[in-house]
Subunit: 346 residues, 2 copies
């Protein structure tokens, strides 16, 4: 049974209600920029932190306690899904993810399967239950997953790159195998997110971090049908935020999936984001995290510009990508405070 | 004295004339995907290839001979400019560029200077003169330089990354030093491109490869004023193509600089690119080079779609970024042929 939430601002915003102020959280807020996280990182590997519910719970709560964000986001990684599907994933500090075995042909699909999520990813749901208990209704908890195209990128390429040429090659040269893979990831992701909801998350975000590597036509063929399936499967249970980074051109199509909110990247002015979506969907974004390096008065000025651009309602303040590791904590704090304290009455 | 050009299709297109077909060249056509280039790479380091006019000339001509592109582009690298300004540049195969000494503070600006381009970059102009002689008017020769923001990225970060966080940090935290650096790069680049023109190039392209890392406001403050200076200094001498990758949002502002043509990235449909620019400027782009991995009939179909979208006039066919190293040569050939042989009378 769900506890009543003390701060449900983000949920009211996602319902399109008129709110007293803009809610705020930060991508990668549970992580590297906090000294208390770096302490844990010294003692435990990434997967130890991810797979030990007590550690995942502690890391998830750190930014809520320290900064007073309007939501907690589960500490985990999008690559737990490929791992659960049968591909080994190594998360190497300062190098990024490495998947020693990759999918390059139709035959390679034999390496993977649609897993029983409760068996393979039970540690995530254990963490969610523990976090919900610890949060005691303080703020909502966000669950998440990678979008199928973005997970395909890693499963085909085997590591992070700027352009994921091998992933694009795979889709263009072996479209049949690509679509089988995308559907397998989609089926897994739907089961995974539904189980997150069952364990207690209040909303979910789907990260299509590499959507921007595809043009509009290819986005429509490779990303959109699978995102649509995920949204349709989840949206009656919890709000669904879709962040397809770089796919600004397809915002109207993403809106048509029925997603509750759309993340926008930095290429769009607030005005153009509103124009593309007819001011009818909740928008999340899009502060440059490198601006958190700058002096606090600069941050406050830039926050004000962003808030004025997007407006008070149907808007969730966030960064344009994850907070940078060496961001001064007091600057992140200033960002959160500037959003919370903005005077909407003027 | 200039030789009369046998194939001046790209120059007529750049003048906005009605042409018989679309001209085509490929970014990084002088390079890695050609076996005859890889042979030279075994024997000479990158800077040996760059700085020996005979080698730069040979590499520049290889794709013209092999594929019949409608233009040659000088074999060189945008990082010869930071090197001429006083920063050591190492080009490490399979790793990318490394600048051991970087610009991070105003004091660091003491490490660099605006060079005498004839002294520091004479090898480029020697190569251009040799290439022009060898080309004997076959096709025009494209000169090029990196845009100031993109060069700043490398000079501050010291290596390639996905997001150039240090470069953005530098601009946001030390705007005064950043603008001094941008102006120094601009002054060098103008002198460098003017000397390329004097040595014989028929047109130039300015590559702002990392423009897409900045939002519209920051692009306007950090990129645009310097691109404008370069365009204004050059456009009365030769056509200037500006390719600000990812800065689709600022196409109208780039058009207003007076640039002869604008490169467009893959986020834009041809229709939207034309709409943003009022169909008044020449557009260059935007085929996904990973599609050159696919079977030739697929390439032909995709080329047809692109040509129909952009139309015959005021358009230069090209890739959305450099051709990939392991592209089958016959597929690159099929791309070129599909553009050349497209029947516009239907």
């Amino acid at each position: 049974m769900n506890t009543i939430l003390k701060n449900d601002l983000i949920l009211r915003t996602l319902r399109g209600e008129t709110v007293e102020r803009v809610p705020v959280w930060m991508m990668r807020q549970a992580g590297r920029f906090l000294p208390e996280y770096r302490e844990l990182r010294k003692k435990y590997t990434f997967f130890e932190r991810c797979k030990t519910p007590e550690l995942a719970c502690e890391i998830t709560l750190q930014p809520v306690r320290r900064l007073g964000t309007d939501a907690a986001i589960l500490f985990s990684d999008i690559l737990v899904v490929p791992e659960a599907m049968g591909l080994e994933v190594q998360l190497v500090e300062k190098v990024g993810p490495i998947l020693p075995s990759t999918i390059r042909t139709k035959e390679d699909l034999g390496k993977i399967r649609i897993p029983e999520v409760q068996e393979q990813l039970g540690y995530v749901f254990d963490a969610i239950r523990m976090i919900k208990q610890e949060l005691a209704g303080e703020v909502p908890l966000i669950g998440f997953a990678g979008a199928p195209w973005t997970l395909l990128c890693y499963m085909v390429q085997g590591k992070g790159t700027k352009t994921f040429d091998e992933a694009r090659r795979f889709c263009y040269t072996q479209p049949e195998a690509a679509h089988i893979l995308l559907q397998m990831i989609t089926d897994t992701t739907i089961a995974y997110l539904k189980a997150q909801v069952e364990a207690g998350v209040d909303l979910v975000q789907v990260f299509d971090s590499w959507a921007g590597l595809l043009g509009p036509d290819d986005f429509s063929a490779i990303c959109l049908p699978y995102i649509r399936q995920i949204v349709e499967a989840l949206k009656d249970e919890v709000p669904v935020i879709v962040f397809a980074k770089g796919a600004w051109h397809s915002l109207p199509l993403l809106q048509a999936t029925g997603a509750t909110a759309l993340g926008v990247d930095w290429g769009l002015t607030p005005e153009f984001a509103r124009q593309l979506t007819g001011n009818e969907v909740v928008i999340q974004g899009n502060f440059d995290p490198a601006k958190l390096y700058a002096p606090i008065p600069f941050i406050e000025k830039e926050v004000e510009k962003m808030l004025q651009g997007f407006g008070k309602d149907k808007y969730i303040a966030n960064l344009r990508h994850g907070i940078l590791p060496d961001t001064p904590v007091e600057h992140a704090q200033a960002f959160i405070e500037a959003i919370k304290n903005y005077s909407w009455s003027n």
